[in-house]
């Protein structure tokens, strides 16, 4: 698989371009009677018209902004900056890991061992290792100086490129909501236009909800709704926040509206997990200091506040998923392609590990499918997912391919543990339950740094990813 070509493919903004000519969300209902169903809620008739045309979102000028700014030449992180950041992270991690992360005895790695500590017990359930405890201990990205740098930067005519560079290595909690809105292209960089855009977009979301969520559904829509209703209540069964009816209803609306606007994929199990980071980040903006979001009662917020959180989560999710839509279309070709690329990549980077897996008949699809489908949300604690998404959002259009390198780095991280397993069963059970419960943002920083290194080595030298080695 030729990575460069793929990158190029991504960079030609396939989805965007298509969205212009073929909006990809042609809802016949929308087109037939654009205004008849729209309620006159005091908004201008132009707004009604705009809300009712299927690709209104694509002609918004803030979108143009997004397209131009995140175009080819600008999204590349300066190699110098990222590399030096990578080296710093590697060094600091090396020191850190000497102290805090001593080599784990096998017993803690093998989740089946009876003396595994209580905290590891939940890791025994495949795909459910996510402990949402957000530690109160400050993470790397939360240092005072870093926050200052962000605040200075944001108040001073920021550019998207600059913000990407700054955010790549992590965003402080305090500024994360605004930075994520900016990075995802939802909020324009231009300070003067922000309020306007936010107001309009939030209104747009709610008119979509009024128009579609509460409307009569055809069979396909009912199937989608049914599946969403099955999945949402069981997303994070141990976290009180997600047991609240209000929160579940919010997720159901976001997912349903996203699905009908993306008919090529519709709702696919796992996308629900991708709403969580956005929702939690935007919710935290309204949670009083030091209070945990897990037990926060959202009904204490005003209706307006809840509406803002919901609309912003929806738009940022939409922007975020634009680059990886092919992950979720029929047969999930995007994922199948990436699984294949992952295998090719590991063959080149670490043939020992590759051979080890293959010799025990472990196929990459068996373990990496979920990694790619859920963007590692099932493998990492939420705090780590959020930190990882700082980087993903800073990669903007390139994040689809960057995700591949992060997956590769994630696999390689466990190499030693994997090499110790000497049968199919042991390997697969470990791969389904990787013990990441103790991870913090330092591990993620290491991961993205390794991923960057690989991307630098391989994506910029596409021949590295061709299987010529096997041809000889």
């Amino acid at each position: 698989m030729n990575m460069d070509k793929d990158n190029g493919h991504d960079k030609t903004s396939f989805w965007k371009k298509n969205a212009r000519t073929v909006p990809g969300r042609p809802s016949p209902k929308k087109d037939v009677k654009p205004t008849s169903k729209t309620k006159q809620t005091g908004s201008t008739s132009f707004h009604d018209f705009q809300a009712s045309v299927s690709d209104a979102w694509e002609i918004d000028d803030d979108d143009d902004d997004f397209c131009i700014i995140s175009g080819l030449e600008n999204t590349k992180i300066s190699k110098k900056v990222s590399q030096s950041a990578a080296i710093n992270v590697l060094n600091s991690h090396r020191n850190f890991s000497d102290v805090v992360m001593p080599e784990k005895p096998i017993s803690t790695i093998n989740p089946s061992t009876s003396d595994a500590p209580e905290s590891l017990r939940c890791s025994r359930i495949p795909g459910r290792p996510q402990q949402m405890r957000c530690r109160n201990t400050p993470q790397d990205e939360d240092s005072e100086s870093k926050l200052k740098r962000f605040e200075n930067y944001l108040s001073n005519a920021p550019t998207l490129q600059g913000l990407c560079e700054l955010s790549w290595s992590g965003v402080p909690v305090k500024v994360r909501p605004i930075v994520w809105r900016l990075l995802s292209g939802y909020l324009p960089m231009n300070l003067e236009r922000r309020n306007n855009v936010l107001e309009r977009k939030r209104q747009d979301y709610w008119s979509l909800v009024n128009k579609y969520y509460y409307a009569d559904h055809d069979e396909n829509d009912r199937d989608i709704k049914h599946q969403i209703n099955i999945d949402v209540p069981r997303m994070n069964p141990t976290v009180p926040l997600f047991q609240q009816k209000t929160v579940q209803a919010i997720f159901e609306r976001i997912l349903f509206i996203w699905s009908i606007r993306h008919p090529a994929s519709g709702y696919v199990q796992g996308i629900n997990d991708l709403v969580t980071p956005f929702y939690v980040v935007f919710l935290q903006e309204y949670i009083p200091n030091n209070q945990s979001f897990e037990t926060f009662m959202v009904d204490t917020l005003s209706e307006d506040e809840l509406k803002i959180i919901e609309a912003d989560s929806f738009w940022c999710l939409s922007k975020f998923l634009d680059g990886i839509q092919d992950n979720y279309v029929f047969a999930q070709i995007g994922i199948q392609k990436k699984v294949h690329q992952l295998e090719e990549l590991i063959t080149r980077v670490d043939e020992t590990l590759h051979r080890h897996l293959r010799s025990h008949n472990v196929s990459y699809l068996q373990f990496s499918f979920r990694w790619l489908n859920n963007l590692l949300t099932r493998e990492l604690p939420l705090r780590c997912t959020i930190r990882l998404w700082d980087t993903y959002l800073a990669e903007s259009d390139n994040f689809a391919s960057f995700q591949l390198y992060v997956s590769a780095a994630f696999l390689l991280y466990w190499k030693e543990d994997l090499m110790r397993q000497n049968d199919f069963q042991g390997l697969l059970i470990l791969l389904q339950n990787l013990p990441t419960q103790v991870w913090s943002s330092s591990q993620i920083s290491l991961l993205v740094a390794e991923a960057y290194k690989m991307k630098y080595m391989f994506a910029d030298a596409p021949n590295h990813l061709q299987s010529n080695r096997f041809d000889s």
């Binding site: 093998n110 089946s112 061992t113 025994r124 359930i125 495949p126 795909g127 459910r128 599946q227 099955i230 999945d231 209540p233 069981r234 997303m235 994070n236 069964p237 519709g266 696919v268 199990q269 796992g270 629900n272 979720y328 029929f330 047969a331 999930q332 199948q336 025990h360 008949n361 699809l365 068996q366 499918f369 979920r370 489908n373 859920n374 099932r378 397993q421 000497n422 049968d423 199919f424 069963q425 042991g426 697969l428 059970i429 389904q432």
Partner: protein, 237 residues
């Protein structure tokens, strides 16, 4: 679930299929870890677990693949039907739609799995008596008509969970062992129907594959059975 219990006579691959939310993952966790989660996250792609059981004095290791129920995943999950000798087709006794979809799942198996796979229809959530939407008789009749075995289980209160696996593993084992008795090495050239042979060759392939992986655990007695198996495999090819 420890990787130390690697001594087994047979290894059978079994898949868990059925609509979303019928309790496939909880059947698996109840059977392999004796755990149950009232709300467990949706399965993405496939998940894997094993447990060994005694059948007729032989140790059978069940390698169970739990699959995602959503239709979108079928292109992916179908890949996991290869080599499966058994399938638990699960529906929810309190949700009639999940029972209606059983026919679709049977078609799915017919299209992607070995034609002789042993299928057991499983009506899960039998604890929800007051919400029952599918009668035992109805499902039983359907199962008989389609040549499936049938059981009702509750992963929540453990009713019949072990029994379901025990039954399907015994059934597979019976076919395998009958095959060995009925087809002595110098046997007739006209073999019974492919029904048995294909299941056996499939099984043997899996077993051999696994035994090679576990070569450090092979004991002398296994070697003689390997010879037998290889022979069975050979005559089946």
């Amino acid at each position: 679930m420890s990787s130390k219990d690697d001594e087994y006579d047979y290894l059978f691959k079994v898949v868990l299929i059925g609509d979303s939310g019928v309790g496939k993952s909880n059947l698996l966790s109840r059977f392999t870890r004796n755990e149950f989660n009232l709300e467990s996250k949706s399965t993405i792609g496939v998940e894997f677990a094993t447990r060994s059981m005694k059948v007729d004095g032989k140790t059978i290791k069940a390698q169970i693949w739990d699959t995602a129920g959503q239709e979108r995943y079928r292109a992916i999950t179908a890949a996991y039907y290869r080599g499966a000798v058994g399938a638990l087709l699960v529906y929810d006794i309190a949700k009639h739609l999940t029972y209606e979809n059983v026919e679709r799942w049977l078609r799915e198996l017919r299209d992607h799995a070995d034609q002789n796979i042993v299928i057991m229809l499983v009506g899960n959530k039998s604890d929800l008596r007051h919400l029952r939407a599918v009668t035992t008789e109805e499902a039983k009749t359907f199962a008989e008509r389609n040549g499936l075995s049938f059981i009702e289980t509750s992963a929540l209160d453990s009713t019949n969970v072990d029994m379901a696996f025990q039954n399907i593993l015994s059934e597979i084992y019976r076919i395998v062992s009958q095959k060995q008795i009925r087809d002595p090495p110098e046997g007739d050239t006209i073999r019974p129907q492919n029904y048995v042979s294909s299941v056996v060759s499939n099984t043997v392939l899996v077993i051999i594959e696994q035994l090679f992986n576990h070569r450090f655990c092979i004991y002398s007695s296994d070697f003689c059975t390997i010879h037998q198996w290889l022979f069975v495999l050979f005559i089946n090819l």
